[in-house]
């Protein structure tokens, strides 16, 4: 076992290095444009002044970390959560689609896994197609799904959630097939000696054995679900959500806004994954698992 400082210190060192490289990159990428500006204005700033100016452009090529932090802070804490410039509002829009899609996807994945484990024909015929389904770049179909569903009159949450569903069912299905098959032959034989029915074997042996697999794959699924929701917001020029912030930022070259939206998306992702992880640990503890 390594002590806590020995584990945390390297992480902070690397993070500090990333921030340092970021600042250097900010200078390097913004300098040409700033030089151009200064030349036109006829100014000759000192080196230090020049560096400061590259860090404070309103529409920089690469915003400096402190600019992004200031933007995130301003749009998260200083604005009303109902304002359409608030990152809380946009994160909430994306989060709701993510959660709905995740719920659908998990249910679908579990259903498929149960079918595959119990029906040989499904195992033979469905499994290759599930894998093939993920080689289809669903995100490329996203615009069409949204436009087509909008033509039928379904707009808002559901189309985005469907894309999330498609992305999140796969890890759950694959993980649950593994999990439901994870009981050893000995345990299955034991159930047979008890004259257990298929349903009993399923509920008393297979389901408990699959719980760790379920939570591991749900962590992957919820991250995929968030990506689906964000991309689902891109094509129609959605009015709200993290994806729409990315798109408007890209239209108006508001790089700081883009980075702020990315930070917000990352925060949501970290939050979701940790919640699923925590739920998994609590469930396993309640089921009497020993800490590994």
């Amino acid at each position: 076992m390594t002590s806590l400082p020995a584990r945390i210190l390297p992480v902070f060192a690397i993070l500090a290095a990333i921030v340092a490289i970021w600042y250097v990159g900010t200078y390097a990428l913004n300098a040409p444009f700033q030089r151009d500006l200064d030349r036109r204005a006829g100014e000759t700033p000192t080196t230090w002044e020049f560096i400061v100016r590259t860090m404070t452009q309103p529409k920089p090529t690469l915003p400096a970390p402190h600019q992004v932090v200031a933007n995130v802070y301003e749009n998260t804490f200083l604005r009303k959560p109902t304002s359409n410039r608030s990152l809380v509002y946009h994160s909430w829009v994306t989060l709701s689609a993510t959660l709905l899609g995740f719920a659908f996807g998990t249910a679908l994945g579990i259903l498929i896994a149960v079918g595959i484990v119990h029906v040989t024909t499904l195992d033979r015929s469905l499994m290759p197609w599930i894998i093939a389904s993920q080689t289809i770049p669903i995100l490329a179909i996203a615009p069409m799904i949204i436009v087509v569903l909008a033509a039928v009159g379904i707009t808002g949450l559901i189309p985005k959630a469907l894309i999330s569903t498609y992305l999140s069912f796969f890890p759950v299905a694959v993980g649950m097939v593994k999990g439901l098959r994870s009981p050893e032959a000995m345990h299955l034989d034991l159930m047979r000696t008890y004259h257990a029915s298929r349903a009993q074997t399923f509920w008393k042996l297979r389901v408990p054995a699959s719980v760790p697999f379920l939570f591991a794959s749900m962590k992957v699924a919820i991250a995929a679900s968030l990506v689906g929701a964000i991309v689902g917001e891109l094509p129609t020029g959605a009015v709200a959500g993290i994806g729409s912030r990315l798109l408007t930022g890209s239209y108006y070259s508001q790089t700081i806004d883009i980075f702020a939206a990315l930070v917000a998306g990352s925060m949501v992702a970290i939050l979701l994954v940790s919640v699923v992880g925590l739920a998994g640990r609590l469930t396993e503890k309640a089921m009497g698992a020993r800490p590994a």
């Binding site: 390594t2 020995a6 584990r7 210190l9 390297p10 992480v11 902070f12 060192a13 690397i14 993070l15 990428l29 090529t61 690469l62 040989t120 024909t121 195992d123 033979r124 015929s125 469905l126 499994m127 290759p128 197609w129 894998i131 093939a132 993920q134 080689t135 289809i136 770049p137 669903i138 995100l139 490329a140 179909i141 615009p143 069409m144 087509v148 033509a151 039928v152 962590k219 991250a223 968030l226 990506v227 964000i230 991309v231 891109l234 094509p235 993290i242 990315l246 798109l247 930022g249 890209s250 070259s253 883009i258 980075f259 939206a261 990315l262 998306g265 990352s266 992702a269 970290i270 994954v273």
Partner: protein, 378 residues
């Protein structure tokens, strides 16, 4: 009837056929199209096929013969049904869908029969493993085609597969240009660069503990983030052409490669590593002769994950700005012009390209990690 053991699919299909017989005709009569008698003849032929198939399936003939009869009956029925609809979309009545369901049940029964057949030869067994999923895929297309044409679903919502196929055949040059732009320029460049960078950094992280302790938590966290969001920034930095898409692909493929390779380098056992020590082998010798081969399954796992990620990254990045060629560009403009069949054609090509990409990596994996239990089959 002592020798008859009808499967539930066969029984249900027979019942459905009986129901369909009372709901005839299959399609709304159309004076200009066909004589009523012909239409009735076709319908009864379809119903007869179901009965023959169900009876043969329940009798004591061998599985191969049963499979053949089921195959002919199911597909013959679909052919009859579709030819009855012809090009008059949306004329199907309820008996059409009942018979379609019966045909589908027969196909299901066929898949069950096929998956229960055991072959002695290895090649025959492999063929069978390919045949059943192929049947499943074909039936998805068949049901899609039959439902869309039978119910007359508007072309804008969902074009039938035959129209998509015609579209692909009719616009090969455009599709080829898009594939060249998106896959051969953006995806492959980004994939190679991203995977190589991830691999090199993983080796460095393996050499220096400090780097590993610092990078791994970050790498694990980043893999949960929606990295695709950097696409607009990359388009701003590297311009509209393929370089910006390749940059997105590099970023997307870097972290899975890093995390998996580092995990793989830790996969070799203590005993083997001790053995290498007793041979007085250097770090690089241990790396190339023991630890990299042991890490190969993990590395290939990353390569497989990345093959789909790369395609997604490049196509999505094209939504943020492209020259007038490329798969993402084509999808977003054709959907705006409501040319849905072109969009589907592009998606079919993308799916095919993705599957081929994945398949090549998987074949490579079989060749390289031939020693691994999951490939040796034991």
């Amino acid at each position: 009837m002592s020798g008859l053991r009808v499967s539930w699919q066969g029984a249900l299909a027979s019942c459905l056929a009986l129901v369909a017989a009372f709901l005839l005709p299959i399609a709304s009569p159309d004076a200009a199209f066909a004589a009523h008698g012909v239409s009735m003849f076709v319908a009864f032929m379809a119903i007869g096929l179901v009965w023959i198939a169900a009876i043969v399936d329940g009798s004591r003939v061998g599985p191969a013969a049963r499979a053949a009869v089921l195959f002919l009956a199911a597909h013959g029925m679909v052919w009859l049904l579709l030819s009855e609809i012809g090009d008059r979309n949306g004329v199907a009545r309820s008996s059409f869908f009942v018979l379609l369901a019966a045909a589908w049940l027969l196909a299901w029964r066929l898949a069950t029969v096929l998956s229960s057949i055991r072959f002695a030869g290895r090649t025959a067994d492999t063929m069978m493993r390919l045949l059943v999923p192929a049947l499943f895929g074909a039936w998805i297309l068949i049901i899609w085609e039959a439902v869309v044409r039978g119910a007359g679903i508007p072309f804008i919502l969902l074009p039938p597969p035959s129209a998509i196929g015609a579209r692909i055949a009719g616009s090969v040059p455009i599709l080829a240009a898009d594939v060249y732009q998106t896959i051969f320029k953006a995806v492959l460049t980004g994939y190679v660069l991203g995977c190589a960078a991830g691999f090199v950094v993983a080796i460095l992280a393996d050499r220096f503990l400090f780097l590993r302790r610092g990078l791994m938590p970050i790498g694990n966290m980043v893999s949960a983030l929606p990295i695709i969001g950097v696409a607009p920034i990359m388009v701003m930095w590297f311009g509209f052409d393929w370089q910006s898409k390749a940059a997105v692909v590099v970023i997307m493929t870097f972290f899975p490669m890093l995390v998996n390779t580092v995990a793989g380098l830790a996969a070799s056992g203590h005993m083997e590593r001790d053995l290498m020590r007793t041979y007085a082998s250097s770090y690089s010798q241990t790396l190339t002769k023991l630890r990299l081969p042991a890490a190969a399954p993990f590395i290939f796992n990353a390569l497989k994950i990345n093959s789909t990620l790369a395609l997604i990254g490049a196509i999505v990045a094209e939504f943020f700005g492209t020259p007038i060629v490329g798969m993402g560009f084509r999808i977003s403009t054709e959907i705006g012009r409501m040319n849905v069949d072109m969009v589907w054609a592009e998606i079919a090509v993308a799916a095919l390209a993705g599957s081929v990409f994945y398949g090549v990596v998987a074949l490579l994996e079989r060749a390289v990690t031939f020693w691994h239990p999951s490939i040796r089959g034991g």
